[in-house]
Symmetry: C2
Subunit: 222 residues, 2 copies
């Protein structure tokens, strides 16, 4: 029997690459998409298409967190940042930070992994481009791995629930190259924060994506 991995899948470039990376690594992936009041559902449609392409079951969880009005990813009245994350400087946290986001994502993935007996959780966290987000940094992921080990039935039976972040040390160029290597369907992915019918090209996620493709010498098919 194949080992199973829960893959957090937003439908963006990073998480879609993770999904196909997991396939390539020999895991039977189970995808998990979390809707927490994002500005748009475009990303989630992309997630469904990617999961289908990978032949993975997709679980979707929706909720809204009434206290999350302060993030520009969720609040349409706040302006989306156009300064690249990488220029915000060490220690600065951009307005797109959603407090506790990856902690919540990983906790839901842990619940799913413990329920179905998955031996790994895969998250597209990226310590370079997203250095502004505390919940994308290696010490956070390491701390969460201990939570997954200590707080689960699997962990108490000494079975692994690994927390894998295959993009952790990659910049966007590296992600584009990995995506190509593992056969991720880049044309299906969606990165824009704004969520119109086409990517806005201006938000920092669009800029980061464009830069990644440019530097990797790859034409963006999306």
């Amino acid at each position: 029997m194949k080992k199973t991995a829960v893959v957090l899948l937003s439908g963006g470039l990073d998480s879609t690459t993770c999904l196909f990376w997991a396939l390539k690594k020999g895991y039977a992936p189970i995808a998990l998409s979390v809707r927490y009041g994002q500005r748009h559902g475009r990303e989630l449609r992309a997630a469904r298409a990617a999961a289908k392409k990978a032949g993975a079951i997709l679980h979707e969880v929706s909720f809204s967190l009434p206290w999350l009005g302060g993030s520009s990813l969720l609040n349409r009245r706040l302006k989306l940042p156009e300064t690249p994350l990488s220029k915000i400087g060490r220690g600065g946290i951009p307005s797109t930070y959603v407090p506790g986001r990856n902690t919540i994502f990983l906790s839901l993935a842990t619940s799913l992994a413990d329920s179905v007996g998955a031996e790994a959780i895969v998250i597209g966290a990226n310590a370079l481009d997203y250095s502004g987000y505390p919940d994308c940094r290696p010490p956070f992921l390491k701390a969460f791995a201990e939570v997954a080990r200590r707080g689960t039935k699997r962990g108490s039976e000494k079975k692994p629930i690994k927390v894998l972040a295959p993009l952790l040390r990659l910049d966007k160029k590296g992600v584009v190259r990995l995506a190509q290597k593992v056969g991720a369907p880049l044309s299906l992915t969606w990165s824009c924060y704004a969520g119109g019918s086409r990517p806005c090209g201006r938000c920092d996620s669009c800029q980061l994506r464009a830069k990644g493709f440019r530097e990797a010498g790859v034409v963006d098919p999306a």
Copy 2:
């Protein structure tokens, strides 16, 4: 200004005691109730009454986790256990275990705490009566405290987000005594897993509660 604490509040004896403990300790409490497909909403009505009594804001978050069919707390077709948790024996995990439950609860509380600038999260985890649940044990709570520190804006600014479990070393008798000491409104609390108009008296939560009151020499007002 008073320091703020996010208190996870189910409406049961343990969490209601935590809420009034936090008040007594000088915190301005913000209560957080999580509805994740429990068998009944009776507990949540109790949570609202307790929050009102404490003068605390109550945030409610609802979602359903499609993979949680295996817990008898959520699946009405499974029989609720009548064997006290304490008799299941070391290492055994009861059917009321909801995979990842406290991890999810704490991650939501972390998001709220990081959003409002709370310096503590309070959870009614109890290492004695609930020794069967991996996510009630001290090593889990310690690991989660590291996650809250590493994964948040507050943490990266070196401000505390403490994870407090004031009931951790108490048995049910101890909880009843603490509840009296901090003035928790026991008559408003609800412990029964079954959720009829009156407690069933048979499920292990009812049995544990009855034993606690008996041993504390207190008449249960609920």
